[in-house]
Symmetry: C2
Subunit: 180 residues, 2 copies
DNA sequence: CGGCGCATGTAACTTGTTACATGATTCC
DNA sequence: GGAATCATGTAACAAGTTACATGCGCCG
């Protein structure tokens, strides 16, 4: 495991919490992980096969439909723990809508407002989704004692979505004033 | 210009504000754009050549050292404006340190605190950098009247860095309590 | 029994990074 | 004159997306 893709570790980490299918992993990255992670099927499925070949995960029978439940092996846990200790490299980001906002001096006021308002709407929707997931998580039992950390992660997402929504809101409500 | 890379538009947009070299573009993405954009030399230089071949930009002589000053052409402005009008596709993100925090139930408390504290330090440093750039921008003249929008963009970065720094700070100062 | 969503898979492609090379200029 | 930084460039590679194909099971 000396390549640079993080996909294997995302998978190992999720499986370390409990069995999962490739489809489950995809759904997780699309919902509660969305503000900090993404994966496509084209990454997930080949990576699952590769991890299996290396003995880091194993298929533990099929559940409903064609769904495969994957489990982490002791070797997998070791590989995961080793990665977890490493310092993460500097982060990079690409938010096209922020880039467009930066360039929005070249737009009409209407187009800029449309951009802002659609931005605000997306943050608002993501916020609602995370907030309701947070409530759900708070209610269900916590067998492994890791809910506090999951909740803390979600709180970071909530804080981010709120800050972004409010930022857009302020530009829409009083666009001429200089807010901080 | 029917491919999916946004690099050409970043370049066109920056050149639309004034002449720039490839190195300048890189520096901009490394500093004030860092919270929402990144580019590597391996993308920038080939892309500049391609944009020149297509007549969207032109080299306007050399300045100090071997530095090439690039300018946008009328065709370039049109291509830029056309892209700007399009709705941006859904955003994806990858923050390895947040992923690691999510998985930090598998860490010792010391390792988790180290992670949080290094995270906080990076947000703090980025925040300071953006704040001082903001002050600098406020002081210099604004010939094209687009400083307000640049400042607004920077404010989003500042809000993000603050929220992230404070989130990490709260987890470090009173890790047992349930903050919002 | 038709359509939708679940679920897996993969091939072709694009995008982006890394590592390297080169040379000029500034500063000590 | 040597080191650091500025500045450009590219080849090899890795990573990630897209578009497709397949089939099952559930629901109306």
């Amino acid at each position: 495991m000396n390549d640079k893709s993080r996909t294997p570790y995302l998978i190992l980490g999720l499986l370390a919490e409990g069995p999962c299918s490739g489809y489950d992993i995809r759904r997780i990255t699309l919902s509660r992980f969305r503000f900090f992670w993404s994966e496509s099927f084209g990454q997930i499925y080949p990576c699952l096969k590769k991890l299996e070949r290396r003995g880091l995960i194993a298929a533990s029978g099929k559940s409903g439909r064609g769904k495969v439940a994957w489990e982490i092996t002791p070797d997998g846990r070791r590989a995961f723990a080793a990665w977890l200790k490493l310092e993460a490299p500097p982060e990079t980001a690409r938010y096209e809508s922020i880039l467009k906002f930066y360039f929005s001096w070249a737009m009409s006021k209407e187009d800029r407002d449309r951009l802002l308002s659609s931005f605000r709407g997306r943050q608002e929707a993501s916020l609602k989704e995370l907030e309701s997931f947070r409530e759900e998580l708070r209610r269900i039992p916590d067998p492994h004692g890791n809910h506090d950390i999951a909740l803390a992660t979600i709180d970071l997402g909530i804080a981010t979505y709120r800050a972004w929504r409010d930022w857009a809101g302020a530009r829409l409500d009083s666009p001429a004033r200089d807010q901080r």
